[in-house]
């Protein structure tokens, strides 16, 4: 399942989406909103997306991961709209027969997502705001 949503992300949904009888491992990555950036105190954060393209890119990331690693299933969800400190902004779940593939594929998926998927983050600080670009 691949989605961009304004709803609160569900770890239970991610876990359930990738569980498979032949898989002995599920790796889960959760990106959460941090209260600081470059020494500044973050007071608010908001994500926006090109939803249709982002969901297509999620599917492409999953497809590439499936080809590279032996995986059961891949789940990627990203939240948009205003988020609070500590909220989950992205959830990736990957299942595989053994743990090494699930962990490696999950790490690779979040790295690729950060570099390619059309999502944007705007952070508000005490006394200013900033769009955060690639690699942050």
């Amino acid at each position: 399942m691949f989605k961009v949503t304004t709803d609160v992300l569900s770890l239970d949904e991610a876990y359930a989406a990738v569980r498979r009888p032949g898989c002995g491992a599920v790796a889960l990555f959760v990106g959460t909103v941090r209260d600081h950036h470059d020494g500044k105190k973050v007071t608010a954060i908001s994500y926006s997306a090109f939803k249709e393209m982002a969901e297509k890119e999620f599917a492409a990331i999953a497809r590439e991961a499936q080809q590279r690693w032996k995986l059961g299933a891949v789940y990627i969800a990203h939240r948009t709209g205003p988020l609070k400190i500590g909220d989950a902004s992205v959830v990736i779940a990957v299942s595989s027969a053994h743990r090494a593939s699930a962990l490696a594929a999950c790490a690779e998926a979040i790295d690729t997502l950060k570099g390619t998927v059309p999502l944007w983050k705007k952070e508000t600080y005490v006394g200013g705001e900033e769009w955060i670009g690639q690699g942050s």
């Binding site: 997306a49 982002a54 059309p118």
Partner: protein, 74 residues
């Protein structure tokens, strides 16, 4: 030919809009971008409908060109 252009993130904020329509005589994404009159940083990528493309990609009536500033998901 009329082509829709979508703006996102900081670009949309700067332009005060998320979508505009341009009339182009050329046939590439680069022609569409030029017709917007926007001054774009080299870091801006292009998408034709829902795929990343280079400026040389060919457009047709009804296509949507998107201007993609550096992404910041995660």
């Amino acid at each position: 030919m009329k082509v829709a252009v979508q703006l996102f993130g900081p670009l949309a904020e700067q332009a005060g809009r998320t979508r505009l329509e341009v009339t182009v005589t050329g046939s590439t994404v680069r022609d569409v971008v030029a017709a917007t009159g926007l001054k774009l940083d080299p870091s801006i990528r292009f998408a034709l409908n829902t795929d990343y493309v280079g400026g040389e990609a060919t457009i047709k009536e009804g296509d949507v060109v998107s201007l993609i500033p550096p992404v910041g998901g995660g």
